[in-house]
Amino acid sequence: MSGEINGPVPVGLTGDADAAGTDARFVTAREMGVAGCTRCGRVWPLETDVCARCGNTIVSRDRKSLQRVWALWLVGLMCYVPANIYPMLRTRTLAQVQEDTIVGGAVELAQHGAPGIAIIILLASVVIPLAKFFVIAFLAVSVERRSAVSYHQRQLLYEVVEYIGRWSMIDIFVVAILSSLVQLNALAAINPGPASLFFALSVIFTMLSAQAFDSRMIWDAQSGREETEKDE
């Protein structure tokens, strides 16, 4: 138990320190015949439909959520493809008109002596979105079959995806600032390309997909195999 805990005591706590790390110490709300509201935390009997405090639907496990996760995931992925094919920025200077895709723009930056910024853009626009597709798919698959990855690690993966997904919007904001600011009549102008719309949609749908995932299922899948797993 961590030191700062002073409040809740696990209902099933037996005082057996040996059990640390396994599920034996914890009684889930479902086993007690109650369900917690995922929005406001109020506890209700299992048969409750709607939380009287906040109006949220009460479900012990949102199994149907997996369908929503996959549907939103797929839409996000379908938007991500054109986001990388079409130009993100259209730069017009006196000499030329240049169109840059997400990756092309980052490569350009790296060549012009701003490798740090190029790395930020590549992280936010390529690495994070791709990693998110993988992690969400992995989590959705892992709750339906046995997984070699421990529940703590999967919970951590889920939290990281939920936290970091929003940061992919950086590139959209960069495009917004550049296209409004760089409007210097004949001299130079920057305009957004069609990829910006697809990219924004991709970020939004993957955020919704991650939000639709019911993380309580991660811990359920684990409860069924108490014997083998020995994580500390």
Binding site: N6, G7, P8, P10, V34, L184, S196
Partner: protein, 211 residues
């Protein structure tokens, strides 16, 4: 096994992330109650948090309105000059289908943070004054929480930094007063989020609070 739980529901707290059930003991102000199983913070009370949140929220509302009006950035190159406000940069995508993106950007960096601050003020003011909750307070707080991931002012600031580096060799950039206001409000938005204990707010919105 009986169908009814032995402990009344109001004496329980359930982790929303992993479903572990605990008997509810509210920690003293300044201490947190953390889920032992998954590490989720369940309760995070703070002394006078309500008043602090309201003060921060009012400041942020003023800063957002001011930052939207004053010049944000301006550039100069070869005699040509352009100055924009935050609203201008949000509405940059204004041709054709990109208009949807313009509205979305404006919402993510200005209107969602603004709405969340005003909802927080609406919900918390009666609580701090020891009055019964405002009409529709539960609905208001529900919206405030639903909008939480969509408040992206802090991400916009990083976007600004990247954009500035990108155009330094193209033109000369000046930071307007709105830029500094926006930087300040981002810090306050993050602070407001950190000091608010969701459990305490929901609990005080209950007709029959658990404690």
């Amino acid at each position: 096994m009986s169908d009814t739980p032995p402990i009344p529901c109001t004496d329980l707290i359930v982790c929303p992330k992993c479903d572990a059930a605990y008997s509810l003991q509210v920690p003293p102000a300044g201490q947190r109650a953390v889920c032992d199983r998954c590490g989720q913070v369940l309760i995070d009370t703070r002394h006078k948090a309500g008043l602090q949140i309201i003060a921060v929220s009012v400041t942020v509302v003023i800063l957002i309105i001011a930052a939207a009006i004053f010049p944000f950035l301006s550039i100069q190159a070869g005699g040509a000059r352009n100055s924009v406000s935050i609203l201008d940069s949000a509405l940059a995508f204004s041709d054709g289908p990109l208009i949807a993106l313009a509205l979305l950007t404006a919402a993510l960096i200005l209107f969602v943070p603004l709405a969340r601050m005003m909802l927080a003020i609406y919900v918390l003011t009666p609580i701090v004054l020891d009055r019964p909750p405002a009409r529709g307070a539960a609905l208001a707080f529900r919206w405030s929480e639903a909008l939480r991931p969509w408040s992206m002012a802090e991400i916009f600031v990083i976007g600004c930094a990247v954009a500035l580096v990108k155009i330094t060799d193209l033109a000369q950039v000046e930071l307007g007063p709105a830029f500094w206001m926006f930087a300040a409000l981002v810090i306050l938005v993050v602070a407001q989020d950190r000091i608010m204990c969701r459990w305490s707010v929901w609990n005080s919105l209950d007709e029959e609070p658990a404690t």
